[in-house]
């Protein structure tokens, strides 16, 4: 019975069943309402943070080829490590707002073209140096410079000038951008002494921990930074082990060798959750699994072909069979309720009749070739097969062509006319659209070129009035949903897991997996 109750209370926490439902089910198991409520709350809350101890974390993504240079950060291990030793100017709050880190405060000019960030007073780097405005300016310069290889290079392209004035860093933009602070919360933009120009991978920053032992792609050990200014960091020591094999990572948690892991495969998450000492944590996010077609290539330039495909896909079936319920249905837009200024659209459903109608209307009856590989998203070939089945019911001849994992992102994605892909999402709608759906975007992987959309995007970026901005984004969403080359069947949840030695998990934290990668620093070891 305890297992069942534990399962139920976890369902409440992850929002899968509501409280009333829980109480009803618990009652059926012979528990009084009061006891059940206590139990449910204890699953949600715990007695305040405790300091000390060691938290061991098993993460995927790390590789011997990685670098400690935050500019080259490209996976969960990289950015979790850089968050331990360093900080960005601003960071996302749990509900997707912003708070200052290295910056104490910030403000925009009325036209949103000039931004001033004030560097926090009295904070130091782990080498003892004071943090100055010049360090911040140099950091931005390193990432934005022409020579830069930084992953944040693209988002800083619009910066015209950075200058300092005492503790202030003043950033001038070419075009107005109301979202600049969101851009600066990017995990690449860790503030380093002298901008990290002389030693980009020295791992010296203002973070809550100091790296003690580094073996790239294998193991990282960090100890609490005694001079850290903020609240983060409960455990005395953090140990990160890179465990790329899914089964090995889950086994490491089950055998008690690590306390926390990321990316539990949805297929086995239900089984993992049954273990008495393991809590599976699911967080909905902006990541989405997609089918993308090039609108400038036959037959996808034919709007009826696109509509036939959009009606010919069974989104709910994919959430059930590919994500095993750890996700939500998509609506052919890259934006879901996760984003600020998001609006709901009518859900597009699987409708073989409408699909067949559009298919006939298009006058095209050749085969449609869909290219896929397992690393475009987990289970992509299976999803492609499901799409093939559902499209067949509408008379669409969809052929699936399997491609190797190796080189998929260079040879297939953004090159071939119709393929499976994955987007991790961005903090704001503006970034999503700018990265992928603006006519001139480097990664316009659907070749979506719409003048009206571009104009709306630039206007919304400069708009400080939220109501107007919401309306603009709604209009853009409609355009993309009806005219775009994006078929988005599902948004995936992040599925992480912790053991019962740890407390302090917060649900629904926005950003990256594992509480925006702060779980190792925010959770604590219980005695």
């Amino acid at each position: 019975m305890t297992d069942q109750l534990k399962y139920l209370s976890r369902q409440v926490v992850t929002g899968r069943i509501n409280r009333r439902h829980f109480l009803g089910r618990a009652g059926a198991l012979g528990l009084t309402a009061a006891a059940a409520t206590t139990m449910m709350n204890s699953a949600v809350m715990a007695a305040g943070p405790q300091k000390g101890g060691t938290i061991r974390v098993g993460l995927q993504g790390g590789s011997t080829t990685s670098s400690l240079d935050p500019a080259l950060s490209s996976n969960q291990t990289d950015w979790t490590v850089s968050r331990m030793w360093g900080e960005t100017l601003v960071e996302l709050t749990d509900d997707g707002g912003l708070e200052g880190r290295v910056a104490e405060s910030y403000e925009a000019s009325a036209d949103a073209k000039t931004w001033t960030f004030r560097v926090r007073q009295g904070i130091t780097f782990s080498n003892g140096q004071d943090v100055t405005a010049a360090d911040v300016a140099e950091t931005l310069d390193r990432h934005a410079g022409e020579e830069s290889q930084s992953g944040a290079h693209g988002i800083l392209r619009d910066i015209k000038d950075v200058r300092t004035d005492g503790r202030d860093v003043i950033i001038e933009l070419n075009t107005a951008n109301a979202d600049l602070p969101y851009l600066l919360s990017d995990f690449h933009l860790v503030i380093q002494p002298g901008g990290g120009k002389s030693a980009p991978d020295a791992a010296i920053g203002t973070g809550p921990y100091i790296l003690k032992d580094v073996d790239m792609g294998v193991r990282f050990v960090a100890e609490k930074n005694p001079n850290y200014w903020g609240e983060l960091g409960n455990a005395e020591t953090l140990e990160i082990l890179v465990i790329n094999d899914n089964t090995a990572r889950v086994a490491a948690l089950q055998s008690g060798q690590v306390d926390m892991i990321d990316r539990v495969p949805p297929r086995t998450a239900g089984l993992v959750a049954r273990a008495p000492n393991v809590n599976v944590r699911s967080t909905s996010g902006p990541g989405h699994y997609v089918f993308i077609a090039h609108l400038d290539t036959e037959p996808f330039s034919n709007r009826d072909v696109m509509m036939a495909l959009k009606y010919g896909i069974n989104r709910q079936e994919m959430v059930d069979k590919i994500l095993f319920g750890y996700g939500s249905v998509g609506n052919d837009s890259p934006v879901n309720g996760y984003y600020p200024f998001a609006t709901e659209f009518e859900q597009r459903e699987y409708d073989p009749d409408k699909a067949a109608f559009h298919w006939k209307q298009s006058g095209y009856d050749g085969p449609i070739v869909l290219e896929t590989s397992d690393n475009s998203f987990p289970g992509a070939p299976d999803a492609a097969a499901l799409f093939q089945q559902s499209a067949q019911a509408a008379g669409i001849n969809l052929q699936v062509k399997r491609q190797p994992n190796d080189g998929y992102w260079t040879e297939v994605w953004n090159k071939r006319p119709f393929c499976t892909s994955f987007w991790a999402g961005r903090p704001t709608q503006d970034q999503v659209y700018t990265t992928t759906y603006l006519s001139t975007a480097d990664w316009n992987d659907t070749r979506f070129k719409n003048e009206q959309f571009d104009q709306l995007l630039l206007a919304a970026r400069a708009e400080l009035d939220s109501a107007k901005r919401t309306q603009m984004y709604a209009d853009m969403g409609t355009l993309l949903r009806d005219e775009g080359g994006l078929i988005c069947p599902m948004f995936n949840d992040f599925v992480d897991a912790t053991n019962d030695k740890l407390a302090g998990w917060a649900d629904g934290v926005k950003g990256l997996p594992l509480m925006n990668s702060y779980a190792p620093m925010r959770m604590w070891v219980t005695n």
Partner: protein, 318 residues
């Protein structure tokens, strides 16, 4: 004696030629792989400018032939170069990984080789009786199951259920020898199971072959104990094929354990190589490939030399 030295020199020269050919093959292989280094390092979030900058910095715009020969020149002077991806010195990071791999291979060999030979001797002693049949059945079954499956089964029962040994075998310098041995106990056990059958069967077959000889019959007629006959008379005469198989399996323990390393998260050469192959880090792949080839060729050479020394007929060819 001079004949022997000449023979050795020939073997070594042949090995070096082979190594050179292997380096050409590896280089050609890495050129055929789809995708390029810069894109693989920067991932999906690379802008065209960042890509161009990285390609220039890494010297990827030079013709392949020039890159190959400048690398080979460095290698001959003992300079393995720096990794394209992380900028680290290859000799240093590779040395540590090679040490780990040899550590695991050493302990697996220390257990599996004597065990395999002893089991082979026992199987001959009790030929066609139940100990022989049981040894063969168990070792053949363990070699027939894919190694990752044995590894997962071992993890499930020994680590997750019984919690006797760790499933993540990340060893580091802060550990004592005892801790390290406990940490690697599961991969060592699995590797032993994987290589046991091959060596055991070869020992059994080679000795059985010798057992037909007239001098064995003489020894039997002298009234020697069966085990003494096998150990003192049959085994030395069948050592050549056994050493060959043992060396092959030891080479496997060094170069072929990628899957085991991934499943047990062991920081050895295999994982190091795979990481760099997926990032097209050609200098590292070349260096790893050459070291693997050298290990293979070297161990086979030792096997040849041991066979020559063990057999007077080979020592004095006509």
């Amino acid at each position: 004696m001079s004949l022997l030295i000449k023979l050795l020199a020939q073997r070594i020269a042949l090995g070096l030629v082979l190594l050179f050919m292997v380096s050409v093959l590896i280089f050609a292989g890495t050129m055929i792989l789809p995708g390029d280094v810069a894109q693989s390092i920067l991932g999906q979030s690379a802008t065209p400018e960042a890509l161009a900058n990285m390609r220039r910095d890494l010297g990827l715009n030079d013709p392949p032939l020039q890159r190959y020969f400048s690398w080979l020149g460095g290698f001959l002077q003992g300079d393995l170069g720096t990794a394209l991806t992380s900028g680290q010195d290859i000799a240093e990071s590779l040395g540590k990984r090679l040490g780990n791999t040899l550590f695991l291979a050493f302990w697996a060999a220390i257990i599996s080789v004597p065990l395999a030979i002893t089991l082979g001797l026992i199987a001959v002693r009790y030929r066609e009786r139940w100990p022989d049949k049981m040894i063969s059945a168990v070792t053949l079954a363990s070699i027939s199951v894919p190694e990752f499956l044995i590894a997962y089964i071992a993890i499930f029962f020994v680590s997750v259920r019984l919690r006797w040994a760790p499933s993540v075998t990340t060893i580091h310098d802060g550990m004592s020898l005892g801790e390290k041995l406990h940490t690697i106990s599961l991969p060592v056990a699995v590797l032993t199971l994987v290589v046991l059958a091959h060596m055991m069967r070869m020992t059994r077959a080679a000795i059985l072959n010798v057992m037909q000889s007239a001098y064995i019959e003489t020894a039997e007629l002298k009234g020697l104990r069966m085990f003494n006959i096998i150990w003192k008379h049959a085994f030395p005469n069948s050592v050549a094929p056994i050493v060959n198989v043992v060396m092959l399996n030891m080479a496997y323990l060094v170069v072929g354990v990628v899957v085991i390393e991934v499943v047990f998260t062991y920081p050895g050469m295999g994982q190091y190589l795979v990481d760099h192959v997926s990032k097209r880090d050609i200098p590292v792949v070349q260096a790893c490939g050459l070291i693997f080839a050298a290990v293979y060729i070297g161990l086979n050479m030792i096997a040849d030399i041991v066979s020559i020394l063990a057999n007077p007929r080979l020592r004095h060819p006509k």
